[in-house]
Each structure stands twice: as C-alpha cells, then as structure tokens.
C-alpha cells in the first residue's frame, strides 16, 4: 500500500467523516438537553438537502433572470445559509409536534413519535415531489488538484473545510455566548435550571433548530459530492450518525464529532482490506466491541442509567 493511496483514502474518509459528524452533532445536542434522541434527525437531514436543492435552483433561476453570473462559491455560501435558516424551522416544528407533548411520557414513546414523523417526512416528500430522483444542480465546477500524486478535488476541500468551520462555530457559540451558557446549564440539569429563569420551551426548540441547521449544511455538502437525491437517503446516513453520536458518548459534542470521523475512517478503510460487501458487517462489529468494553462511549459519563419508564 503506497503512501499516495493511503493519503487518498484519508481524504475520502475525512469527507465521509464530515457528513457523519455534522449529523451526529444534532443528535448529541438534543440528547444533552432533553435526554432524548431525535429520531427524526436523519429525515431532517433529507429535508434540509431538498430545501437546499430548492434554494439552489431558485438562486440559479433568479440570477439567470437578472442576468448576473454569481461566482460558484458565493452561490454555495448563500444556498447553505438560506437552507440552514429554513431547515431550522423544520426542527422547531418537529420539537413542537413530536417531542414537547411527550416530555414527561416514557422516552420510548417519544422515540416512536420521532420515527413516525420521519416516515411522514419521507413519504410526504414522495407525495409532493413524485418518485423520480432529483439532481442537485452543479453549483461549483469540479477542479482536481494533483498534490504529490494525491488527487484532491476542490469539492472535497470545500466539504471538509465547511464542516470543520461549522463545528468550530458551534463550539464558540456554546462556550462563549449567553445562549450557549443557557444550553450548557440546561444539559447539566433540565429540571432545576428552568427554576432559575431559563425556559426549557425556548432552549429545546433552539437546540432542535441548531441541530437541524447543521444537518441541512451536511445535506448540501453531501449533495455536492453525491448529487442524486432520493427521499430515503436520510435513513441509513441518519442511523449511522446516530451510532456515531452514541459512540462519542451521549451529549458530548467533541465526542460526536470525533466518532463521526472515526466512522468515516472505518467505512473507507475496511473495504481496502476486506471485500467491500463486508463493510457494514465489520463496521458494526467494531462498534459492538467498542460498546461492550466501553459502554458509555468515548466521552460519556457513567451517570445514572435509570430509564424513565
């Protein structure tokens, strides 16, 4: 195995890791506040991608009608920002409909409503847009750079760079702002902190909104690399990112990001050594082993494991 080959795959793994990490962050943040997993998240990712598709198409049509040629990077940035903004409302709606009424119910019930809203999003999409697969418009042209024999496309650089800067922004938001402080306090104890004047009905939707916005960004980056969209794209990616969120330790932002990248590396490097049909088998076996020997993930604390049922 040559060094170039290895580096090539490292770049691929970083790209996949970015998708997983961006989605896993949403799971982890919601968990840290509500102690519940948002099982709709994979489908919010899908919805965000479709919203991104709509925004990109709209922007292209608009700039075409006005006779301006926008540079690709500006178009991409505008698409990501607008789609993130719009998708955050989907997250807020999911919280309002599926999670707020069930805040005191057994947690499995909330998991069921989450799953069911996800199914409704998938089939609602099918019902509205039809069964044909849609193509994400090529906003930026692919340029391939050859760096010492390693082929890197500009898309891969953009994907990893945007993902990393979003994670940094999230980190700064949580550590440096008053809102972030409220979120941290809420994740410390969501029953006492509301008595101190921080409303959970404000923080929980905000967490859903931020998580959904990150998922939308991840979706648009995903569509840059794999432009054929279908309504069920969120299922597998969502579940795998969910696994990454758990693996990182529940509620740990850093853990979720790292585990997302780890999952990317496992998935890219396993097919190099073994036949590619073994990919899922080995990836999940590794996860099973990790969780058997470190049952609380990388950064999770072994606090009370009592179920609320």
């Amino acid at each position: 195995m040559s060094l170039e080959f290895l580096l090539q795959n490292v770049i691929n793994a970083l790209q996949w890791g970015s998708f997983y990490a961006l989605i896993a962050l949403g799971y982890s943040m919601v968990y840290s506040i509500l102690m519940l997993f948002n099982f709709t998240h994979g489908d919010i990712f899908m919805t965000g991608t479709y919203i991104g598709l709509g925004v990109a198409t709209g922007l292209l049509a608009l700039s075409g009608a006005m006779g301006i040629v926008l540079p690709g990077w500006l178009l991409l940035a505008m698409t990501i920002v607008i789609a993130m903004f719009l998708t955050s409302f989907v997250g807020v709606a999911v919280e309002r409909v599926g999670y707020r009424p069930l805040r005191d119910a057994p947690r499995a019930s909330a998991a069921i409503t989450g799953l069911m809203i996800g199914i409704m999003l998938e089939y609602g999409n099918l019902a509205i847009l039809g069964t044909q697969r849609l193509l994400f418009p090529p906003i930026i042209e692919t340029v391939t750079y050859n760096i010492f024999g390693v082929f890197v496309t500009n898309k891969k650089i953009v994907i990893v760079a945007v993902a990393l800067s979003l994670m940094l922004a999230l980190h700064l938001f949580i550590q440096k702002t008053r809102w972030g402080m409220a979120m941290r306090a809420m994740s410390f104890d969501f029953q006492v902190v509301p008595l101190m004047g921080v409303s959970i009905n404000l923080i929980a939707p905000m967490t859903f909104a931020i998580g959904s916005a990150l998922a939308a960004a991840g979706g648009i980056l995903y569509a840059l690399a794999y432009p054929v969209l279908d309504p069920f794209m969120g299922i597998l990616l969502g579940w795998k990112s969910f696994v990454a969120a758990i693996l990182g330790g529940r509620g740990s932002i850093l853990g979720a990001a790292l585990a997302g990248f780890l999952l990317g590396f496992i998935e890219v490097f396993v097919p190099i050594v073994f036949p590619s049909t073994f990919r899922d088998l080995i990836a999940y076996s590794i996860i099973l082993l990790i969780l058997t020997f470190r049952p609380y993930g990388f950064f999770g604390q072994a606090h009370s494991t009592q179920l609320r049922l």
Binding site: Y31, A108, F242, F278, L281, Y296
Partner: protein, 427 residues
C-alpha cells in the same frame, strides 16, 4: 342522556353473554357466509364476498360501501347477536360447568371453536387466509418484543435480526432435508416425513435466534437504555450483512422454495402456544423479576433478584419466539431476503408494540391485529398510507403515551367465567 342510557343497556346485555356465546355466534355467521355469502353479495350488487368485512373496499370503491355495510349487518352482526343472545342461558350454564373443571379444558374448547371459525372464514378466499396467517405471525412477534421492550423496559431494536436468524435456520433445515434444492442438492429424507419434522425446524429456528440473543444479552449486563439500543441495532445490521455475505444461503438475493408448511392449523397452534407460554411466563416469579429490573435495577438486585440471569432469560426467551415466528414467516411467504429484515420491519414491529400497549398481552394482540388491519385497509391509498399510519400512531402516543391497553393482566380464568355469577359479584 338517552344515548348514554342506550349505550349502557347495550353494554350490559353484551357483558351478560360469555365468550362461548360470542364464539358460537361467530361460527354460525362464518358458516352462513360460506353458504349464502356469494348469492347475497350478488343480490347487493357486490362483485364478490367482501374479503375483510368490506374494509378494503372503503378506499378502493367507496360507492359500494353502503352495500357492504348492509352485507356485514345481514351476514355478521345480526346472526352473531341473534345466536349469542339466544343461547345466552345455555352458554352461561356451560361456562358455569366449565368453571369447576381444569382451566386448560375450557381454554382448549374455546381455542378449538376459534380455530373452527377461522377455518370456515378463510375458506372464502386465499387473500383472507394469507392475511390471517400473517396477522397471527405478527401477534407472535409483537408479544415477544413486548417481553423485552415492555416487561423488561429495554429499547431493543434487534427483533428483525432474531427473526431473520430463525427464518434462515428453519429454512436451511427444511431445504436440506426435505426438498430438491439447487443450493443444497437432493432431499436427504422422504418428503412425507416433512410436515412431522416441521415443529423441529421451527424449534431449531427459535434456538438459533435465542443463541444469537446472547450477543445482545451479555453487553446488557453492563449497560442499559440508549447504549443497549445501539448494540441491538448494530446486531440487527450485523445479522443482515452477515447473511448477505454467506453465499450458500443465497447472499443478498435471498432464499426461496421453502415448502408451504405454514398452514392455518400450524400457525394457529404456534400462536396459541406462544400466547399461553408468554402469558404464563410474565405472570411467573421470573416475569415479575423482569418488571422489578425495569423499575429499578439496583433495588431489584437488593431484593435478591439475579439481574444478569433475568436479563439473559428475557432476551433469549423473546428471541426464541421471534425465531419461531421467523420460521413460520419463511414458510408462508416462501422467499426471504436479508434486505427484508431491516429498518422498515423494525419500525413496523415497534409501532405494533407501542400502539397496542406496553406490559400487556392483550395490548400486543390488539396492536398487532389493528396495525396489520389498518395497513391492509389503507393499501389502496398507496403512498398516502404511510402518511396516515404514522399520524395515527403519533396521536395515540400523544394522548396515551404507553399505548392503548397497557399494564393489564391477561387472566384467562376471569375472561371465561360465567357472566351471571360475575355480574352478581360486581353488584
């Protein structure tokens, strides 16, 4: 006010008839339908006898709905009520007689009657037969998942994996021994022996699933809740992708050609056994230990409950029945693919358990039957079916978070008791 009085009267008179009466009534209705159903349907301008009480026609052809309602009234509701109320004294006396005999005798009588009804009712169409068998298999799956998710309070996502293990183990057993198969060569035993060895095949399927459950049960000693959910989910994916990589069982293309041994009596017997054994299990000391582990593991441990053994038994027991159901399923649809035992099936099974009600045998039966029925009724809607079913479930979860009939004991003795005595006792 008058309506409430009327409703109360209907309810009281219905409660005065023991289950035996209703079953005899249903049997008469089924026979009646077999005899005059077709002629009556033609008279009412229906193309054929409505397969599921006309429920499937609701969306297919709404114009026929009044006629099917009339058909249901004439063939089902009126005869059932007439016979049930007409024989009330007789059946109540019979129930009183049976009350002082061993419970199994009464239960067996009711089961035989139930089977007779199903047998006659499914004579009418192959569609009815298949739906009934699949519903009964779904009941077994839901009930066994309820042991783990409801009674023990874990969130296990591995049930499709257990089912796949059972389906494949049972299929391999029957295909190797009794059929000429392109994968496994000629039959090793004469085919005439086959149906007698079928229970053995199902048992092997169940045991394979139970062994597989150890993979999930052993990590559950140290972790609970979300982490266990992930472990079980990973297990499901591992099973699926392992089967895809085993070429002798067909890999991702799946495995077909199982003999059609999942006949109505076999499936019915398996389901009755499953309900009986699981009901006895959850009411036993071990079953109560499951509840104790769910409510507070540390306290349960302090009360001398061996939590490890309890968890292991619950997982293996639930997985065993899932494996048996998988074997039945494989011999009913007669072609299984690893892709079929995935997230979609998991979502369906979870929906049945949480819709029907946690910690309740009756709830599981209700959940499995009603979700399957709703799913059949909404089939003509196509895509929109998957918008309606989740909506129903979300509403149920919001207004009844533990499901329709949760935390209720299933006491056969009380159900079969004669009504007059029961009513008198209540007063």
């Amino acid at each position: 006010m008058r309506l409430a009085a009327l409703w109360g009267w209907v309810w009281r008179s219905a409660a005065a008839v023991p289950p035996l009466g209703w079953l005899i009534g249903a049997f008469c209705a089924a026979v009646l339908e077999l005899l005059i159903g077709y002629e009556l349907a033609i008279m009412l301008y229906l193309p054929k006898v409505p397969p599921l009480f006309g429920a499937t026609l609701l969306f297919q052809n709404p114009l026929l709905f009044p006629a099917t309602l009339l058909f249901d009234l004439l063939v089902y509701i009126l005869p059932v009520c007439a016979v049930a109320f007409g024989t009330q004294r007789l059946t109540d006396r019979a129930a009183a007689f049976l009350e002082h005999r061993p419970t199994w005798l009464a239960a067996l009588m009711h089961l035989v009657l139930m089977y007779a009804i199903l047998h006659v009712w499914t004579e009418a169409s192959a569609y009815r037969l298949q739906v009934s068998k699949l519903v009964m298999i779904a009941v077994m799956l839901t009930l066994s998942l309820n042991v783990i998710n409801g009674y023990m309070g874990e969130f296990s996502c591995s049930h499709p994996g257990f089912m796949a293990l059972g389906a494949y183990a049972a299929s391999v057993f029957t295909l190797v021994l009794f059929t000429q198969d392109r994968l496994f060569g000629p039959a090793l035993l004469p085919a005439a022996l086959g149906p007698f060895c079928y229970p053995l095949a199902l048992f092997i399927g169940g045991m394979t699933a139970a062994l597989g459950a150890l993979v999930v049960a052993i990590p559950s000693f140290r972790t609970r809740g979300d982490y266990l959910a992930i472990i079980s989910l990973a297990f499901m994916f591992i099973v699926k992708s392992a089967i895809e990589n085993i070429e002798p069982v067909g890999g991702p293309r799946g495995m077909g050609g199982q003999p059609n041994w999942s006949t109505l009596p076999v499936v019915f017997t398996a389901m009755a056994l499953c309900i009986w054994i699981i009901n006895n299990f959850v009411r036993s000391t071990l079953g109560k230990a499951l509840n104790a582990v769910r409510d507070n593991e540390t306290a349960a441990d302090a009360m001398t409950i061996n939590t490890r053994r309890t968890k292991m038994v619950a997982f293996m027991f639930g997985a065993f029945w899932a494996g048996v159901a998988g074997g039945l399923y494989a011999h009913e649809v007669r072609h299984v693919t690893p892709g079929g035992f995935g997230i979609q099936m998991l979502a369906e099974q979870l929906a049945m358990v949480y819709f029907g009600g946690l910690n309740s045998v009756v709830g599981s039966v209700v959940g499995a039957v009603s979700i399957s029925m709703v799913s059949e009724v909404l089939k003509p809607l196509g895509l929109y079916k998957w918008l309606v079913i989740p909506l129903i479930l979300i509403l149920v979860m919001i207004f009844r978070p533990t499901g329709l009939i949760a935390f209720r004991d299933f006491d056969i003795k009380r159900i079969l008791a004669p009504r007059k005595a029961a009513l008198k006792r209540r007063e």
